[in-house]
Structures are given as structure tokens and as C-alpha cells.
């Protein structure tokens, strides 16, 4: 993956050095900048340097800001982890809940209505939903006469005049989180509900559930059996939902001006700050690989058939 990212990056037209130096710079100034950035070395040497750096946790230096990419991303990462983690967790819980309701009432009008609703929300661009919520809850709230708790801030993590720490700080953070997390959760939950519905319906059709019904199980206990059998599939879904959450968070961070990874990446793209873009890409890829690995490792816990024989 690291190799692919590097090859893609270096195959690009557009010279970062020319973006960096002033337009009136002489040829020798350009050359010295190039040397300082190490961009004059043969491509194989650049590749070796960069790969070695990445393996040591060193992603190079941001061309536009002069900071180390690692420090830059380290500042941004917690914001994105918070946004993505909370949203992913909430959307999983809500999505599976909606999917179970639908599976229980499969074929009824409420099932069809929920299917339409989840399909529509899953089809909505995150940035568009975000704009709509800002229009209603931030700017529209006062005009529409919403009570104070529903007048939500739309930009940044904290109010500029907020408390520096303690309960006030936390409350302020939570208030600023409602809209961004809400957007990501709505879209994530809609997508997960669509899969959860069909996964649960597949389980409902199995002999195990027919047998459980035959033993007279109903209601919550039957639902427990269904969920237990569907659990491995749902766990895989959890890992699979991550790329979507990441994509959504890029837009949400952009609209709500959250200083996270997505915003760092889009800002870097506009500035052609390639080391930052590469670093963010590698980090995102690592997150997805880690999630898949976790799912693979956790699967045998949920599905005894996948456990190796003790012998």
C-alpha cells in the first residue's frame, strides 16, 4: 500500500517546488529549494527514504507549513478519531436496531417505509445534509423560535469564549458535536440498517430459528437467538462501515470546520502539500487495515465454527 501511494504521488505532474518559491525566484533559488527538500534525488532514492521514514513513523516535512507531517497529523488525529468513533458506534447501534425492527415486520408497510427512508438517507451527500442541519438548527433556530438547547453551534470544536477546561469545556464540546456527529450517524445508520435487515432476514429463514420457534420461543428471547447467529456477519459489517465513515468525516470536517484529518487533507490538497496528503492517506489506509484485522481476529470469538481445533 505504501508503495502504491508513493508511485501515484511521484507520477503526478505539477511541481511542488514551483508552488513554494516566489514567482520571481531565479533558477538557482529553485534548485537550492529542491535540494533542501530532497526532491533532486533519483526516484528510487526518494522512495527508499520515504518508505524508511514511514516505517519509523516519520512522514517527512509539510512543504507548505514547514511543520513535521507527523506533528500535524498527530494534532488532527484525535479530532477525527472522536468524530468517527462516536459516529460509527452510534450508527451501528441505531442501524442494527432499525434493521431488526424491519426484519421483524418484513413485508409490511412500515418495513417498506423504513427501507425507503434508509435508502434515501444513505443516498444523501453528507455535506448537503450538514448544510441543511446548519440552516435549520444554527441560523434558523432563533427565527423559528426553538428553545435554547436546540440552537446549536455549527463551526469548530469550541466556542471562542468557552471555558478552558472542566465541565463547561465538555458541555461546550458536546454541543458543538451534536450536528457533525448527527450527520455522520444518520448516514452511517441508514447504510448499516440496509445490510442488517437482509442479514437478519437470512438468519430468520434458517433451521435454527425454525427450531427455536418450535420450542415456543417468542419475543425478546427469539430476537436474542437471531442476533446471536447474525453476530459474526454484523461484526464484519462494523469493519466495512469504516471507509464510509471516513469519507463522510472528510466532508463533515470540511463543512463544520473541525480541525481533523479530513480537513488537514483537503487543505493540503489545495496547497499541493504532497507529504501531508501522503501521510494522511497512509494513516487512513492503516486504519482500514487495522479494522479489518480486528474483525478477523474477533470473528472466532463470535463464531465457534471459525475456531481452530484445540488439538
Amino acid at each position: 500500500m505504501v508503495t502504491v501511494v508513493f508511485v501515484l504521488a511521484r507520477s503526478a505532474p505539477g511541481d511542488p517546488v514551483l508552488m513554494l518559491v516566489s514567482p520571481t525566484a531565479s533558477a538557482s533559488e529553485i534548485a537550492s529549494t529542491r535540494t533542501r527538500l530532497g526532491l533532486d534525488a533519483p526516484i528510487a532514492v526518494q522512495y527508499a527514504r520515504w518508505t524508511r521514514g514511514v516505517l519509523h513513523g516519520d512522514f517527512g516535512t509539510s512543504i507548505a507549513t514547514g511543520r513535521s507531517v507527523r506533528a500535524l497529523l498527530a494534532d488532527a488525529l484525535p479530532v477525527s478519531l472522536f468524530l468517527g468513533g462516536v459516529s460509527l458506534l452510534l450508527s451501528f447501534v441505531i442501524g442494527v436496531a432499525i434493521g431488526s425492527v424491519q426484519a421483524r415486520r418484513a413485508g409490511t408497510r412500515s418495513d417498506l417505509g423504513l427501507t425507503m427512508a434508509t435508502t434515501a438517507i444513505a443516498a444523501a451527500p453528507a455535506f448537503w445534509l450538514a448544510l441543511g442541519l446548519i440552516a435549520v438548527f444554527t441560523y434558523g433556530a432563533a427565527r423559528l423560535g426553538f428553545p435554547a438547547p436546540l440552537r446549536l453551534p455549527a463551526f469548530g470544536l469550541h466556542a471562542p469564549s468557552g471555558a478552558p477546561s472542566g465541565i463547561g469545556w465538555l458541555a461546550d464540546l458536546l454541543r458543538h458535536s451534536v450536528l457533525p456527529v448527527g450527520v455522520l450517524t444518520a448516514i452511517g445508520a441508514a447504510g448499516i440498517a440496509r445490510y442488517a435487515r437482509s442479514a437478519l432476514l437470512d438468519v430468520v429463514g434458517t433451521d435454527a430459528i425454525r427450531a427455536a420457534r418450535g420450542r415456543g420461543l417468542t419475543g425478546a428471547r427469539l430476537a436474542g437467538h437471531v442476533l446471536r447467529i447474525a453476530l459474526p456477519g454484523l461484526m464484519v459489517l462494523f469493519a466495512l462501515a469504516l471507509p464510509g465513515t471516513i469519507a463522510g468525516s472528510v466532508f463533515v470536517e470540511s463543512v463544520f470546520a473541525w480541525p481533523g484529518m479530513g480537513r488537514a487533507m483537503t487543505t493540503a490538497i489545495l496547497a499541493r502539500d504532497i507529504p501531508v496528503v501522503l501521510g494522511a492517506t497512509v494513516l487512513y489506509g492503516a486504519a482500514v487495515i487495522a479494522a479489518n484485522l480486528l474483525a478477523d481476529l474477533a470473528l472466532p470469538l463470535a463464531d465457534p465454527r471459525l475456531r481452530r481445533d484445540e488439538s
Binding site: M1, T3, L8, A123, W128, Y139, T281
Partner: protein, 298 residues
């Protein structure tokens, strides 16, 4: 699984909507009385609400944007770009994935291992991040967006096709074709591939919706289709500053994205159900695993 009747109705509605939307955006800019891109009386006609008349007497069903351009006309014009980019991107990705998967599955050995290593490496990066990386490196333009959509969307199709080709190459009809003297290339293209195309087709159909959505996202960030050319994404971005005073400016193109993407999803689901029939649980699960990157991306 799903009940048959409502699904079939919603599929028909979805097909109808997509056909009407495509026809409208192809024809409307040709026959429209106003030139959708022309800027006339900016002061008098800017940010008119839906269902209003401008000073010159023109009626605006969806209102106007801040340069006084009719939103309906512009949304249809943008639909040309967005639909074309989405469909072209998905088709190119599907074709590329089919070729890669077919070659890998047919040749096996070293080419197979190399191609699949590349596929897996690219699959590990979320598609949007990969897209952003690509547009960061090339100049943003219509052509770039299509190429980049194809370059980042083929991996799922490739894996599906490879699996089908590997399964098909051991079948008796392949032996029969060989026994009749067909060369390897002919056997692959005429005998194996047509039988292995089903899942690739589904993944490609599913890809249209996500391609439209990704184009909108890139254009929203200013990295896709560049103004003054209209696309749904950059129209939403244009409405960003006036979302309070004139919410319709971003509402209308956004609804267009939602409706078309939703219809593409419904059609993709229908194609899958039609082709899959009732598959065993295990097969369905692997299919979810390999194609879910498509519709989940947004």
C-alpha cells in the same frame, strides 16, 4: 427475502425516474427558452424564491441563484455533467475491473499474484481518500474526475470477476471449447467471460450511484468539475453561503443527487436480486464483503 410486489413497483419507478431525468437534462438545455448559463439582470433576478417571476417576466419554478440564473434549467444542465460523469466513471471502472480480473483469473501464477496484490493494496485505502489523492496530483477537470473515478472503482469488480473466472475455467464447457481447438484468448473472451460477468454487472450498476455521489463531493470541495461548468456538487457549494437567506439554491441540486442516487441503488438491488436468485448464505456474505465499498462510500 424482500416481498416481491412493492420491490418491483419501486424498481419501475426508479427506472422511470432515471430515464426521465436523463432525457430531461439532455433535451431541456436545447429547447429551453432561456440560456441556462447566461447571466442577465443580476440585480433584479438574483436569489428569487421558487414560484416567482423576475422583472423581465420570466417564471422560475425553483427560483434563481445569486447570479439570477434559473435553478431548474441549471440543475438540468448540471444533470448532463453529473449523470454522464457518474455513468462513464462506473462503466470505465467496471470494464477495467473485468479485464484485470479476467487476466488474473485466467493466467494465474505471477500476473495473478501481482494484480491481486495491487488490488488489495488499493482496496485498503478508502475510496474517497484515494480519489482526493488522485485529484491532488492532477489538475481538477471533468476528464480528470472520470479517469479518477474509473481508477479508484475497479478493484471490487476485479476481485469478483477473478473469482468467477477461476471457478469457470474448470467447467466442462471450457474443456469442450479447448477440445474444439479454440485458442486461449477466444476461450476466455467468448466462453468464460460471458458466464462470469454477472457479479461484475451488479457491482458496476451499484457503482453508478456512488460515482455520482463522489463526483458531487469532489465538486463540492472545489476539486471536481470547475465553475462556470455546472455540476450538482458545485451548485450545492455555490448555495453554501446563502443557505440561510436562499436555501433553495443548494436544496434543489442536493435533492437531484439524492433522488438519482437512490434510484441507482434501487436499480442495482433489483439487478442483484434478479441475477442472484436465492443464493446460499455463505455466497451472499462474501458478496457483501467484496462490494460493500461501493454503496457505502458517500
Amino acid at each position: 427475502m424482500t416481498t416481491a410486489a412493492p420491490t418491483r413497483i419501486s424498481t419501475r419507478v426508479a427506472v422511470a425516474v432515471v430515464v426521465i431525468a436523463s432525457l430531461a437534462s439532455m433535451i431541456a438545455p436545447l429547447v429551453g427558452a432561456r440560456a441556462p448559463a447566461a447571466i442577465g439582470d443580476v440585480v433584479g433576478a438574483r436569489l428569487l424564491a421558487p414560484f416567482s417571476h423576475d422583472p423581465a417576466g420570466g417564471f422560475h419554478l425553483f427560483g434563481t441563484d445569486r447570479l439570477g440564473r434559473d435553478l431548474l434549467a441549471r440543475t438540468l444542465l448540471a444533470g448532463r455533467v453529473s449523470l454522464a460523469v457518474g455513468i462513464a466513471g462506473a462503466l470505465l471502472a467496471g470494464a477495467l475491473g473485468t479485464v484485470v480480473g479476467a487476466v488474473a483469473g485466467w493466467r494465474r501464477g505471477v500476473p495473478d499474484r501481482l494484480l491481486m496484490a495491487l488490488t488489495d493494496a488499493l482496496l485498503a485505502i478508502p475510496r474517497l481518500v484515494l480519489l482526493l489523492l488522485c485529484v491532488a496530483l492532477w489538475e481538477p477537470s471533468l476528464r480528470t474526475v472520470v479517469i479518477v473515478l474509473a481508477a479508484t472503482g475497479w478493484m471490487g469488480v476485479a476481485r469478483l470477476t477473478r473469482a468467477e473466472v477461476v471457478a469457470a475455467r474448470g467447467r466442462p464447457y471450457v474443456d469442450a471449447a479447448r477440445a474444439l481447438g479454440a485458442r486461449a484468448r477466444r476461450t476466455l473472451w467468448r466462453h468464460v467471460l460471458p458466464n462470469a460477468l454477472g457479479p461484475a454487472l451488479v457491482a458496476t450498476a451499484m457503482g453508478v450511484g456512488s460515482a455520482i455521489m463522489l463526483e458531487a463531493g469532489l465538486s463540492f470541495l472545489g476539486l471536481g468539475v470547475q465553475p462556470p461548468a455546472a455540476s450538482w456538487g458545485n451548485m450545492i457549494a455555490a448555495g453554501r453561503d446563502v443557505v440561510v437567506t436562499a436555501p433553495w439554491v443548494s436544496l434543489v441540486p442536493g435533492l437531484a443527487v439524492v433522488i438519482v442516487t437512490m434510484c441507482a441503488t434501487i436499480i442495482g438491488d433489483a439487478v442483484r436480486d434478479r441475477l442472484a436468485g436465492k443464493r446460499p448464505l455463505a455466497a451472499q456474505r462474501t458478496r457483501i464483503v467484496t462490494t460493500s465499498r461501493g454503496p457505502a462510500v458517500n
